[in-house]
């Protein structure tokens, strides 16, 4: 179990995050917040890149900095910006990182082929990465993160550059992996985690705002999310008075989804989703 105990990180006078306490056991945790809210700071502390100003992070009861290399051995990390050597092929890159991860050479070849197949890059296993698209590079990044079969998998904004099909594939891989390890997925894209997260951790104002299942969080907005159809002209006026969550152009007008504390007579209530909660929280 990964225990984050009352962790605060300050840079001089600025506080990035404060009083963060979390207990993470096997499962998929979605770390959700707008950009700059402190997600990456927290992630960097979990991956030992930063030290907390106060508080501690424990893995199975022992502080991660005390564990040192032992701890890093069991984590897999995909940073928001990760680099590579342009003249490497995925195979070379992964072989190199495998050495840095202390993986034995025995069975390595097969393991590399296995993870590359999982992210759908088998065909370009030996192609130089400078020819890769953003999505392909991202998938190499995911491959290296899972290469050492980590007990804690930490992914920081991992779906940038992935097309819809690739996103689905990604969600499937991650979801399957979360059955027997801790997966932390940090993102500001709600759809990445809505369908697969066991628990969603929302960070607001540098602290943990919510730490609960998707359904429990969404249930808070029960009866406050409405949907209504109207003409384009009517929408212009409507927009000014209401908290719009989304507006879809239809053949004969607009279908508008909005949030309202008061009871609305015109629209019909609908089941709130995580995106709604996100928009309402971080208005």
């Amino acid at each position: 179990m990964l225990t984050i105990s009352d962790v605060t990180k300050c840079y001089g006078k600025n506080t990035a995050v404060e009083h963060i306490s979390l207990d993470l056991d096997n499962g998929l945790y979605g770390l959700l917040a707008p950009n700059g809210a402190g997600k990456t700071t927290l992630i960097k502390m979990i991956t030992t890149l930063l030290m907390p100003t106060s508080g501690e992070i424990l893995w199975n009861g022992v502080e991660i900095h005390r564990l040192g290399a032992q701890y890093r051995e069991i984590i897999g990390y995909l940073p928001q910006q990760f680099g590579y050597y342009k003249n490497n092929s995925p195979r070379q890159y992964l072989e190199y990182l495998a050495a840095l991860k202390g993986l034995p050479t025995e069975g390595l070849r097969e393991r590399i082929e296995e993870v590359v197949a999982q992210v759908g890059l088998s065909e370009v296993l030996n192609t130089k990465m400078k020819k890769f698209s953003g999505g392909m590079l991202q998938r190499v990044g995911i491959a290296q993160a899972i290469l050492n079969d980590p007990k804690i998998l930490i992914l920081d904004e991992p779906t940038g550059g992935l097309d819809p099909k690739e996103r689905v594939r990604f969600r499937n891989i991650i979801s399957a992996m979360s059955k027997d390890r801790i997966v932390i997925l940090s993102t500001h894209i709600v759809s990445d985690i809505e369908s697969i997260a066991n628990q969603v951790i929302l960070i607001k104002d540098r602290q943990i705002y919510r730490n609960d299942t998707v359904s429990a969080i969404c249930a808070e907005l029960n009866g406050k999310v409405y949907e209504q159809s109207m003409s384009n002209e009517a929408y212009e006026a409507f927009e000014g008075d209401h908290f719009i969550l989304s507006a879809r152009q239809e053949y004969d007008g607009m279908t508008v989804r909005f949030f309202s504390e008061e009871k609305e007579t015109e629209g019909r209530t609908c089941v709130p989703n995580l995106e709604d909660f996100f928009l309402v929280t971080f208005r």
């Binding site: 991956t47 030992t48 890149l49 040192g68 290399a69 032992q70 890093r72 051995e73 984590i75 990390y77 940073p79 910006q81 990760f82 680099g83 590579y84 050597y85 190199y96 990182l97 050495a99 840095l100 991860k101 202390g102 290296q144």
Partner: protein, 233 residues
């Protein structure tokens, strides 16, 4: 206080003890990434390093017989190290791999430390060639100078690695390096007496002792870094 304790039997405790002691006393295998991994993607850097070193040698040939050779040699002692150091870190930062590598079992700081260890061992020998070229000019003080230069080189190297580990910035080490150059130039221009005292008056034995001490410090530093990174449990 509280519940009545049911202890395990002596035999059961013995079994537990065996298991635990076996783990605790296991010969810790040290596994290190090999040379190829430490110097991965470094061909260009090493080429530049060698080129620069050759330039240093050329410079030595040029100044032969013109006096004050000692000051220049002293100044050039950490050059090879720092060139490789800065280029290495720059290259890695350009490739944006630092963050990722920091989270690996063999962390980025460890890899750089090991790389610079090998580099500096090489540099110590390469620098002796400089001393060799200017041997006649340096005469009796050649070895003292070599020892002093090596000491300075090692301490500067340790400082640069510690600074990087604590701050994540190589720029501060740049200030250190610049400071060294400026210091040596100052010695040449204004501190001739000090130089005379340090290099020529202080006996060779002292210089060798201090150099040996610097090696020990380096050794201790590497041991600590290896502790955090290379032990298998």
């Amino acid at each position: 206080m509280g519940i009545k304790i049911e202890y395990p039997t002596e035999d059961e405790i013995k079994v537990q003890k065996e298991k635990i002691l076996r783990v605790a006393l296991e010969r810790k295998t040290v596994s290190r990434p090999d040379f190829q991994i430490l110097f991965y993607n470094c061909r260009l850097i090493l080429a530049v390093g060698i080129l620069l070193y050759l330039l240093l040698l050329y410079f030595c040939l040029m100044i032969r017989g013109r006096g004050n050779e000692g000051y220049w040699v002293l100044m050039m002692y950490p050059f090879t190290y720092f060139v490789i150091y800065f280029l290495s870190i720059l290259a890695e930062e350009q490739s944006e791999v630092v963050e990722l590598k920091q989270s690996m079992k063999y962390s980025f700081v460890y890899v750089i430390s090991m790389r610079m260890l090998y580099t500096n061992v090489m540099a110590v020998f390469l620098n002796l060639i400089m001393i060799g070229i200017l041997h006649s000019a340096l005469a009796a003080h050649a070895w003292s100078l070599a020892a002093a230069g090596t000491t300075a080189d090692i301490f500067l190297a340790l400082a640069s690695l510690t600074i990087y580990e604590k701050t994540g910035s190589a720029k501060i080490s740049g200030v250190l390096f610049l400071g060294w150059i400026v210091g040596c130039i100052w010695l040449l221009l204004f501190g001739q007496n000090l130089y005379h005292l340090l290099i020529e008056v202080v006996p060779l034995a002292v210089h060798l002792a201090v150099a040996a001490f610097s090696f020990l410090t380096w050794f201790e530093y590497m041991r600590k870094v290896e502790h955090k990174n290379a032990y298998n449990f």
